[in-house]
Symmetry: C2
Subunit: 720 residues, 2 copies
Amino acid sequence: MSCMFKFTRITITLIAIAGFLGILTSPAQAEDGYDLWLRYRLIDNAERLKNHQQTAVSIVAAGDSPTMTVAVEELHRGLSGLLGQDIPRKDAPAKTGSILVGAAPALQKLAPNLKLPDITALGPEGYSLQSINSDSFKGTVITANTDAGVLYGVFGFLRRIQTHQPIDNLDIKQTPRIQRRMLNHWDNLSRSVEKGYAGKSIWIWDELPGKRDPRYRDYARANASVGINAVVIHNVNADPKIVSDEYIAKWAALAEELRPYNIKVYTTVNFGSPMLFDGPNKLDTADPRDPRVSDWWKERFNAIYAQVPDFGGVLVKADTEGRPGPQQFNREFTDGANMLAEAIAPHGGIVIWRAFRNKALTNNEPDVVKRPYLAYAPFDGQFADNVVIQPKYGPSDFQPREPAHPLFGAMPNTPLFLEVEITQEYLGRDLHHVYIAPLWKEILTFDTFARGRGSSVAKVIDGSLYGRNISGIAGVANVGSDRNWCGYDFGQANWYAFGRLAWDHQLSSEQIADEWLKMTFSHDPHFIAVARAIMMESWPAAVSYLRPLGFTILSAYNHYEPAPKYRNFKGGDYNIADKDTVGVDRTLKGSGAVTQYNQHLTDLLDNVDTCPLKYFLWFHRVSWNFPLPTGRTVWEEIVWQFYDGVRTVEDMNNMWATLKPYVDAERFDRISNKRAGHLEHARKWRDTCVSYFQSLNELPWPDFIESEFHQKPPTSKSKK
Amino acid sequence: MSCMFKFTRITITLIAIAGFLGILTSPAQAEDGYDLWLRYRLIDNAERLKNHQQTAVSIVAAGDSPTMTVAVEELHRGLSGLLGQDIPRKDAPAKTGSILVGAAPALQKLAPNLKLPDITALGPEGYSLQSINSDSFKGTVITANTDAGVLYGVFGFLRRIQTHQPIDNLDIKQTPRIQRRMLNHWDNLSRSVEKGYAGKSIWIWDELPGKRDPRYRDYARANASVGINAVVIHNVNADPKIVSDEYIAKWAALAEELRPYNIKVYTTVNFGSPMLFDGPNKLDTADPRDPRVSDWWKERFNAIYAQVPDFGGVLVKADTEGRPGPQQFNREFTDGANMLAEAIAPHGGIVIWRAFRNKALTNNEPDVVKRPYLAYAPFDGQFADNVVIQPKYGPSDFQPREPAHPLFGAMPNTPLFLEVEITQEYLGRDLHHVYIAPLWKEILTFDTFARGRGSSVAKVIDGSLYGRNISGIAGVANVGSDRNWCGYDFGQANWYAFGRLAWDHQLSSEQIADEWLKMTFSHDPHFIAVARAIMMESWPAAVSYLRPLGFTILSAYNHYEPAPKYRNFKGGDYNIADKDTVGVDRTLKGSGAVTQYNQHLTDLLDNVDTCPLKYFLWFHRVSWNFPLPTGRTVWEEIVWQFYDGVRTVEDMNNMWATLKPYVDAERFDRISNKRAGHLEHARKWRDTCVSYFQSLNELPWPDFIESEFHQKPPTSKSKK
């Protein structure tokens, strides 16, 4: 345990006063973003500081497991930083001001007379923060059923201080709503990261297992601080080598680094591994019904668990986008998933089977968004108990907005994990400042009506709707080797928000933004109000200038540049628009995709009058002149939204500029520069798309381009 | 014509430079709000100033009517102020830089060789702004078919400069979409103002007609600048004396003051006047079928038109809230309205008949919101040609949010005017900072489906849906004798926005906010972005803390303080909630109010799944535990919205605080003080309402009060 800060009382008082007056703004440390939201800077409010210094005088810890060790380290580091003085560890509680920390049994042993809070309902990961105010002891108890719970309690306690909530009179119990809160790394063994925009993979494979980058620990701390407890270390487009002895040894070392932080390691596997991996027992098949294949996997799982006894399981992308899978051998997904499940079951692992598009199994269904449902819903109930199906949040492919995936309402007998992207594959990479929590909330609160009203996606995936005993959510990580981890400063907010929502999907986007801003930038309420407004506007704006009115894919193959023409042809996956009409007809008269939802939703979505405008062009093909309840036609509305989205980005930039007095120059300038590029690229999206559509429909440009937005309409470049 | 500013060239340059550097912020003038948006302060951008000074060198006016005189005065005043130098009036165009201003015939006479723009389609009030760049003349033409059009052109031209739009290369034609753009004054002869929160009436009755307050002219200028062309001078609860010779003479003087600004005077009349007005020819009845009554009105209209030849007509509130009306004499509304209409028709006047609640005619219909429709829809087509029906925007009574009034889709054969309140009767008076344009836009874009999709309220009232030749919109004024006119600084925005929307209902709330902010405060884009965000958030926030989720009236009799209990009893107008349920059942199984809308809307509103959440409790009575698509139950959602609304007000205040560097201290402090009171009152609303509802349902307080909003739930005060 190191003491990071040591000040005399006078120094502290001076700094506290200076801080209170707003003079002190993080004197010496580089604002490079490395610390993420775990900055632990001195509290800049003298009264609050004094109050906390009285509440947190010493740490008394019970237990010395690796997890308890990091928990106490974190508590010491956090408190010492925030309170500006060493908060010493003591062996026994003082009469006042001790922070007692430890799992309940150990803590009770240490302080037999202490009446601990009732924690029976907290489960293996929940925690309790309790102020005690008895005659014999006035202090704070951070406790749980396990050391892991204690670790989360420590971070919860520190977060309260970081976000300026009181830490006296605590009576708090917290349990995660979802069991497996997973980061999925699409990291390749070459250290490139698929859809990664923050440098290389943080896993330095050629140094492992011998050398262990200290970042592994900081990465683990960050995850634990928001409750992430599972990491899939490898790309879903998996290299067969990942299950080689050589690589198992490497990621066993990673697992060792992450384990104290209650993070279990998972990996993706290539379904074709038995025939693709150039090892001594290489097969000529990966047919899941071939006993040799099953044995091959059993042998590998034995090898894995020998080195990583708490290995979580495997994530499989099979039979999509050219990846091997059971269909290659004329087998069903159930054959493939259940074979792996049986092989891993003795060790307690699970198989997470991604449900993405699949052409073969769906009779070459031309509407791509119908495929995952067609491929998976019929197999509900036929998967082994330790198989989980993991759909993306929508039925297409991580679009800026999609209706929720219909599978969430269609597999009552199968545990479903929800896969979201924290990385901004379709949301402007590291250039566009987009706070994604509102998108995730829209999906989580989407009502599937599967067991009647109130059957939200959140209740499907947290297991409460059907009483499932496996529950999970996966976020494709935006983490890389860049010093600031996430490519751009505000990108960190998405990592933070994912973890917080995975822990408690009932938190609001606003609250999470609030917490993150306070922990990362400033408590100033003026700053918070403006910065939160910027964040909350950012996703709706991005939807407006990337996919207004429920458009499906409009981007190029790189998923980044605008290319509406490239996507728009008959017989292709999408046929977005022609001279007279726009949208994709997925009604009963069209592709029928609406029927993949509960009957109730089918009716709502099928009808132009009840289909929400946000999904309008997703489900309906209409005339460009179709009048919408906004008072504009579809053509006008599309143009409006593209322009309005860009205007919002301009506003966001202008609002950010007003925050200069509240932010250190280093971060202010860096963010301002990024924002300029964001605006430029948003304009490119707008101009490319509206020009292309106008070249199709040849309709007049709406007057509001000039009157409202003070722009000249773009010159149409592309002709039909 | 007076020259307000005269500077040497050096002074101008210095000021221009100072302004450019942001040093100069309106040096000497008091920022008391008197100038409204017609501030005409020197342009604070040197390049733009120089450019404009070259474009606007002199004024050449054709015509000398009173309207042309004020138009030219305004142009001179505006240009001289904005450009910081006297822009002289000349008799003939110079070769470059002249602003030619006048109605087309007069202008053509003055400059016979000038090719004027084609203005045939502009009608009597439209205008053209045209840059001319011929060999013989380089300059600007402001023209129209009438002097009134020219006046609007002048204000349109000045607005362009005020809002930093270019004034070279102009090719602009503007016509109002609605004919009668009316302010309704609820001003009493005592100079009290019903629902007025900005001092006394601006009409100083005891001074009139002899003495004429200079404010009348400034009031007229402000109205003309946004296109308001009609003023109802008296309260709808009308004093019979208003049509006495004494008072006609008084308001004939007002009409004279307003006439040059193209504003016609209207008045309300008391339907009982023949028997209530203590004059020489007093009757013992006001029965519309009694020929003596008809004669009485003819005589009065003769007297009026003798003094006010362009008198617009009368506005009548009859048989509601105890006011006299034809029902008193067992006659129909048609009898009353048509009798007045016949009497005024020879003079070209109209009768505007307010459609508010009426009990008698509706068989004592217990659901008050059904009454106006029941009382009026059956008479469609039976009113005289010069009768207009004027419903409020919603079927209740100016609530913070209401669905649009069903009459707008139900009287195809009757001209309908839309009545809105600019004054904040239910929206927090002059204390709550609420920008109301978004509410008006919601009503204007509301689709009645009356002639199929796209039959918006806007198209009903602008006459385009049924090809009507009378069209109108009325706003109850928020104007009073206070120095700043509207009670609080941002209240002026609502006056401005009403006029702008009345002229062009397709303008967006954002654009109008933009214009007003630029004209009133600052062009700084950083300021604009934050201030516009504050304005745009203000109405949704007010709805949240005043009437979340479509609640009907929750306020006390004063329409200002929270009093949910007072409204909530069986047999009363409203029965809002009990232990188990909340909302008002207006479905087919309830009061059936949904049937007053087009069948298509009836279906949507009747169904809990398709009824928009914003109108949810307006149409549906459900269990407190009913799950909503927000992921919250109805009880949770109500609590959420009250808290979220208050949080937004807190945010608005914090955002405002960041604008200190952009606003003069006088206005900044005044507005900041007001905002503090606004927040306090919003909290009172929240706490009173949620406490009352919790006392009914006795449900636990949602966790998010503490976790999200960091508050303790209020202690329930009122028990059932």
